[in-house]
Amino acid sequence: MNRNAPLVLGIETSCDETGVGVVRGTELLANTIASSMDEHARYGGVVPEVAARAHLEALEPTIRQALAEASVSLDELDAVAVTSGPGLAGALMVGVGAAKALAVSLDVPIYAVNHLVGHVGADLLDTEAPLETPTVALLVSGGHTSLLLVRDLVSDVELLGETIDDAAGEAFDKVARLLGLPYPGGPEIDRAAVGGDPSAIRFPRGLTKPKDLERHRYDFSFSGLKTAVARWVEQREAAGEPVPVADVAASFREAVVDVLTAKAIDACRELGVPRLLLGGGVIANARLRAVAAERTAAAGIELRIPPLSLCTDNGAMIAALGAQLIMGGHEPSTLGFGADSTLPVTEIQA
């Protein structure tokens, strides 16, 4: 096997995107995604059984398409990498079963990797200034909201904090729904917030009070925020007053963005790490990127944001992490690993 620049195919099925990526070392050759998002739209959120069914149908065609885009054939592959967790169990299992069989059929090693660490690995692809460690990483999507300290991508990742209830992306979806906006909520809230005053309503910032900070300094909570928005809107409606949707959307978004960036920067400062990496689908939110840029600049912290196509869930980041493990001399995973919906971030490879 080529250990300097291994050709790796990565498979990602932890949520509603069927992602297949092909990398050669840190070079991105293909990043192909089939999304079942449209099928979830009418339910207002990701339905696990719908996602798992969609993965089964999409996976093989997506692998074919990724290989074609990368202009490589299966027998050139040095290894297969796959997300083994965390994520939706039934969805993960489709990818795990497929990846194992593919690896056995090609007689190549398999690397089972951690989805969250994969998000960090995405930053290594096609860049002239490679990721430096240590770095703090803020990963925000519909499925997770996590703050990590990455001392070494393939051997030392620590969970600083995570959401104790809803993921940030989920909060966007739920608030969008109560404002009568469609799924997914992130872009809809953004659109609705145009012209709105972000300081019109002071919605609560979860886990930022001194007594909460003692135990939950780097944790997040968005459930109370969602409830506060619902209550505010309902009181308006009950009073027969119009709901200022733009102000509500802008103020809600501001509360989310404020707490996400404040805690991430607090972690950088406290730990003396002058780097912050963003990842996850919610990074598509322009306001989040803008506030993160402002605040990191003010604090003298380097901000890294991979291209959006590598921020949302994708197979290229999984392939990238697999390639890093190979280049770092790590042994392949043994074939008996399973899908672990709650795989801790400290387990970079299963």
Binding site: G44, V50, A52, V94, A103, V104, S105, A230, L335, G338
Partner: protein, 206 residues
């Protein structure tokens, strides 16, 4: 020579040959660990048969019915294995394979196959012997019925807790030889719409 996989009950993997029969079969009835065991069972079955992947002419998979989470693991694995060796993927209804194994070994011609479908239901198919090509004649099913309402049937009821992949593979070989492929659509046999409980936006104040 085919690799055959069925995960509609436990996990079963076989290597079969039209002339040589079932060359090797490995499996576990464990209905919770399909993703864990699938890779090792494929490796073991190939090794026991002494067959390298490149010598296979296709990959057959039981398409269900069966509990979905496990069922998908075998279908996904069979499809990518077929992709990896650049050979056809051959979908087979899992009940057909059980019926064929029963009928081909001289069992009573009228047979009702009953398997677990969770949620206090069974999946049921009915067969009436083998046709001229030696393929089982399905007269009804598969359908879901409540466990205490399995339809009365004039024949043998066969409750299958395991679906041996050897039967899946041999039936695929037979159908291929008779020019009768495909035996099924290339889609998992779910028999239920996905379970979705869209939570209506609920009020938090009164």
């Amino acid at each position: 020579m085919l690799l055959a996989i069925d995960t509609s009950a436990g996990t079963s993997v076989a290597v079969v040959d039209r002339d040589g029969g079932v060359l090797a079969q490995r499996g576990t009835p464990d209905a919770m660990r399909h993703a864990e065991v699938i890779g090792e069972l494929i490796t073991e079955a190939l090794a026991a048969a002494g067959v390298a992947p490149g010598r296979l002419s296709g990959v057959a998979a039981g398409m269900g019915p069966g509990p979905y989470t496990g069922l998908r693991v075998g279908i996904a694995a069979a499809r990518t294995f077929a992709l990896g060796i650049r050979r056809p993927f051959v979908p087979v209804p899992s009940h057909d394979a059980v019926a064929w194994a029963h009928l081909a070994s001289g069992g009573a011609p009228a047979v009702q196959i009953v398997t677990d479908a969770r949620r206090r239901e069974f999946a049921v198919s009915e067969y009436l012997g083998l046709d001229a090509d030696g393929l089982p004649v399905r007269a009804a099913g598969p359908v879901l019925v409540p466990r205490d309402e399995v339809p009365a049937f004039d024949g043998v009821r066969l409750d299958a807790a395991e679906i041996p992949a050897g039967g899946v593979g041999m039936l695929a070989e037979l159908a291929f030889a008779a020019g009768r492929l495909p035996l099924a659509d290339d889609a998992a046999i779910y028999l239920r719409e996905p379970d979705v409980t869209p939570s209506p936006g609920k009020r938090v104040t009164r």
